[in-house]
């Protein structure tokens, strides 16, 4: 699969906050229909790296190529133009708005008069929720009144509704119970078959072993290496995360 042009190619990315190298010359890539896990301890830099792709942060150095073309991503709006959608760990929901208003936040459907078309947005939200999470019924309450799983559903719906080509999921199952986690796994499988590339940030090795094709491990802002998940064991990944040690006898990109 290395022969084709990667969907996303982040090269030599660096960013510092107050002298701390949060991301230190890291390169990762992602192909269509592929799930790449980003692993590492808290503070390893994986969320920061991915926020550069989603436009939340601006890199101090490095380049991003989307479909082989250099991409200029200066803010979240730019990222959306490249069909990059992100499910943030914090979910990034406006708590006092309802599910539909959150789903369409920044991309409101409007009537010919230019007013917000709440009926249409709610109908669309009902449609997508019927597919994603049929149990979801709280369409008219502010999302602050929803459970963690329901809020997660709204955040996921927002990311997949707008034809994402590149999906970033930052700890998507952190707030979920076993049943909902299973639904997210199924969704990831389904999105893969549609050719969407997914960056999955997780600190759960089992999630990564189950869902990902490749895993990139970070430690202290640096990339330890990228491995094919099928080539390594849980222990190999663990020693990459904890010790920053590359497994022996396995092809490691870095």
């Amino acid at each position: 699969m290395d022969k084709q042009t990667p969907l996303v190619d982040m090269r030599d990315i660096q960013i510092s906050f107050g002298g701390i190298h949060a991301v230190d010359h890291v390169s990762v890539d992602l192909h269509p229909g592929e799930v790449v896990g980003l692993l590492g301890h808290n503070g390893a830099g994986k969320s920061t790296l991915i926020k550069i792709l989603s436009g939340a942060y601006q890199a101090d150095g490095g380049e991003i190529y989307i479909n082989g073309k250099k991409a200029e991503i200066h803010n979240p709006r730019d990222a959306r133009r490249y069909n990059i959608e992100t499910i943030y760990q914090t979910l990034a929901l406006a708590d006092n708005l309802d599910a539909a208003s959150n789903l369409f936040l920044g991309r409101e459907l409007t009537t010919p008069l230019g007013t917000v078309d709440d009926d249409a947005m709610e109908a669309e939200t009902r449609n997508i929720m019927a597919k994603l999470n049929p149990n979801f019924q709280k369409f008219s309450e502010p999302v602050s009144a929803l459970s963690g799983g329901q809020r997660q559903s709204v955040a996921i719906a927002r990311a997949v509704y707008f034809d994402a080509k590149i999906l970033i999921m930052d700890e998507p199952t952190a707030a979920l119970g076993p049943h909902e986690t299973q639904m997210v796994s199924e969704l990831i499988q389904q999105l893969k078959t549609q050719g969407i590339g997914i960056f999955l940030i997780s600190h759960d090795i089992h999630d990564v072993m189950e869902l990902c094709d490749r895993a990139s491990v970070m430690k202290n802002g640096k990339l330890v290496g990228t491995v094919n998940v099928d080539d390594v064991t849980d222990d190999d990944l663990l020693s990459m995360i904890i010790l920053g040690k590359k497994p022996e006898g396995v092809a490691v990109q870095s």
Binding site: S54, G55, A56, N75, P76, R77, A79, R80, T86, Y88, T90, L91, A92, L93, A94, D95, N96, L97, D98, A100, S101, L105, G106, R107, E108, T110, G114, T115, V116, D118, M121, E122, Q137, K138, F139, S140, E141, P142, R158
Partner: protein, 335 residues
């Protein structure tokens, strides 16, 4: 779950109102209680002329409170609404009395000046990241000073502009229904309130006003140009203060450059009493109108009862604390 029932008839923003419904109900009940209490205490209170005086007083404060509501829902605060009102009145005076422009131009100049000053405040807050309290405090002083400088510290009278005083004092309703001589100022307040309410519930600007107050970072991550929208909201609030400037100038038939300080606190008090959360994200224009009425009834009633002005201020302060406390108790209950 209770929400399985169909809720199609409810607009998504209806529940934004609902979340403050308790406070609004409380405010409305307080208003009725005040009206009944003052009526019993003094036979002079329930006179038509006194009711009209109350409405007249509500019109200016109400318009400013509507402006403050918009900014407060974004999670900000606008301390400059009072002196901005005065500044706009002075600008109207310059346009009409000094330059002798037609009435309509004076009105437009005042509203445009308000919107421009609001845009400045919005720029300080959004682009320069100055906390709204400080940015609008600075703006409040700048505008107070500018009003005095431009007018040479003297009132500007509108005697050369016939009909100017009728903007606020005349009564279109009274001409049609003589039994209801409701001043135009009140009519204008209602138009402003209905427009603001419509903007909040039906437009993208309104949607972002609530969203910014809920979680500004989430709005930014959703690809919204939060700075630009915030500036627009402050500009809109400024424009509404311009309307307030016209109202006060028309009522006094003059622009009084020393006026204005203290109006911002009355406006913010009305907003808070009406159930709008000072932490942003929640609030209604209807609540603000009720709040403004409470403030006007209270001031008027205490005056009718010949309570000293000093004590009126004390009562107002106590009521603000009570209103905020009621809001906090309610929020603790609802989690």
């Amino acid at each position: 779950m209770s929400s399985v029932t169909d809720v199609k008839d409810k607009s998504p923003l209806a529940n934004l109102g609902d979340s403050g419904a308790y406070q609004k109900l409380l405010a409305f009940a307080s208003l009725i209680a005040l009206l009944i209490g003052f009526s019993i205490a003094s036979p002079n209170f329930m006179q038509t002329s006194n009711m009209i005086a109350i409405l007249q007083a509500t019109s200016v404060n109400g318009v400013l409170a509507v402006a403050a509501t918009l900014v407060i829902i974004t999670g900000g605060i606008d301390l400059s609404v009072g002196t901005l009102m005065t500044f706009c009145a002075v600008i109207a005076g310059v346009a009409l009395t000094y330059l002798g422009l037609p009435l309509l131009f004076g009105v437009i100049a005042a509203i445009a000046a308000g919107a421009f000053c609001g845009l400045c405040s919005g720029t300080f807050v959004a682009k320069m990241k100055i906390p709204p309290f400080i940015a609008t405090l600075g703006m409040m002083l700048i505008l107070k000073g500018l009003s005095l400088v431009i007018s040479g510290t003297r009132p500007i009278y509108f005697n050369d502009t016939p009909g100017f005083d009728q903007i606020s004092r005349g009564s279109l309703i009274g001409e049609v229904i003589p039994a209801l001589p409701i001043p135009n100022g009140v009519l204008i307040l209602f138009l402003v309130a209905i427009s603001a309410s419509y903007i909040l519930s039906r437009t993208v600007l309104g949607r972002y006003t609530f969203a910014l107050g809920s979680n500004e970072e989430a709005v930014r991550l959703s690809g919204v140009n939060t700075d630009a929208w915030k500036m627009r909201i402050y500009a809109l609030a400024g424009g509404i203060c311009g309307i307030g400037g016209i109202l006060i100038a028309s009522r006094l038939n003059s622009a009084q450059p020393a006026l204005g300080l203290g109006y911002e606190l009355e406006a913010i008090a009305a907003v808070v009493i009406g159930g709008t959360s000072l932490s942003g994200g929640r609030g209604t224009i209807l609540g603000t109108l009720i709040g403004a009425l409470i403030m006007a009834v209270l001031t008027n009633g205490l005056r009718v009862l010949s309570v000293a002005q000093e004590w009126q201020t004390v009562v107002t302060g106590a009521i603000i604390i009570l209103a905020v406390y009621a809001d906090m108790v309610r929020r603790k209950k609802s989690g």
